[in-house]
Symmetry: C2
Subunit: 210 residues, 2 copies
Amino acid sequence: MDFIKKPEEIENRSMQIIEPYLKDLNLTVEEVKVYSRMIHAAGDVDYAPIIKISKNAIEAAKSAIKSGSNIYTDVEMVRTGINKRTLSKFGGNVFCKIADEDIKKIAENQGITRSMAAMRTFGKDLNNSIIAIGNAPTALFEVLRLVIEDSIKPAVIIGIPVGFVGAADSKKALAEQSQIPFITVEGTKGGSPIAVAAINAIIYLLDNSR
Amino acid sequence: MDFIKKPEEIENRSMQIIEPYLKDLNLTVEEVKVYSRMIHAAGDVDYAPIIKISKNAIEAAKSAIKSGSNIYTDVEMVRTGINKRTLSKFGGNVFCKIADEDIKKIAENQGITRSMAAMRTFGKDLNNSIIAIGNAPTALFEVLRLVIEDSIKPAVIIGIPVGFVGAADSKKALAEQSQIPFITVEGTKGGSPIAVAAINAIIYLLDNSR
C-alpha cells in the first residue's frame, strides 16, 4: 500500500486539488485559505459555491483573535477541534456549556435544546467574541435572537449547523442580517469539522510559525 | 423566528425527511437507523448510495459493545462525539492517542502522521475492538496493514476518513477486504461526525432507555 504519509505533503496536495474549484469565485488570498480548509474538511468540492463569507468577516475574526477574544461553541466536538494551543498564544480560550448539568436542567424546564440554553446562558459574554456553531440550528437561532432582542454584539459568527430541520433556515437568517460579520454554508450541509476548519484557517493566518 | 425547539421532534422530523432516500436500498430496520444518523450528521442525502455496511457489521459491532469492547479512534473529535456515558453501561471505553507526546515523537522520527503512529502503537489492543476513523486515511491504511501483516483482528472497522489525498483509496481497500466487518463511505466524503453517527446509532440500538 503506497500512499502519502507526510502531513505537509498531504495538506499541500489537498489544497492543489481544491484550487480549480475556487478560481471563478473572485476570492481574496485569505478567503482561498478558509474555503480550502472548509472544503477539505468535508471532502466535498460542492461546498465551493455554497460557502458564504461576509465582506469583513475574516478581518473581524483576525482582529478578535489578536485581541484575545474567546470562542464560544455549541457542541464539544467544535471545542475539541479548535487549535487551542495556537489560540492561547493570543490570550483566547474556548468555551462550551452543552454538557453542564445546569444547562441540562434549563433545557428540560424550558422545553428547548441544550445548545440553545447554553447560548442563552452565555449572554453578554458573547460580546466581542467569536461564536462557532457546527451542529445545532437552535443555537444559531438563539444567537440571532440575542443580537436582535438583547443587543449582543459578537465580533463574528461562524454559523454552520447541519441537518434537515432548521439548519438551512437558521443559516439563511444569519446571511440576511447585516449587523454581525459571518461565515456560513447555504443549505442543509455543514457540521463541526467545517466550523472548526474555518476557525483554524483564520488562526493559522495569524500564526507565522506555520 | 418560529422553529422546532424540542430535541425528540427534531430527530423524528429529520428521520422522516431522510426515509424516502433509503427506500430503494433494501436495508434492514437497523441499517436504516445507522444510515439515517450518518446522513443527518452530514446534512447530505447524497450519502445514501455511497454508505457501505458489510453484511455482518452491525451485528458484530453490537456484540462487541455488549461484551464491553473498547473503541479506538484516530482523532479527538471522534472520541468527543461518541456517547461514552451509554457505552460505559456495557463496560467499554474510548481511546485516542493522537495528542500524546510520545506519539508526536514517533511520528516525527518515522516521517508519518500522528494518527498512523497512534494506530501502530495501539497494536494488539485493537483485537476484538471497534476502530472508528473519522479523519485520517493514513490511520485506516495502517489498521489494514496491522490486519494483514500482524494478524490483528478488530471486531469491526468504522472507516470514514475524509479528503482528497488517500481517503477514497483507503476506504476502497477497506471495502475490498473480507476479513473484518466494516462500515464506510465511498469516495472523498466523510468525517468525524459521520463516524460518530454510525457508532452512536449502534450504541442506541442496544440502549432501551432511548
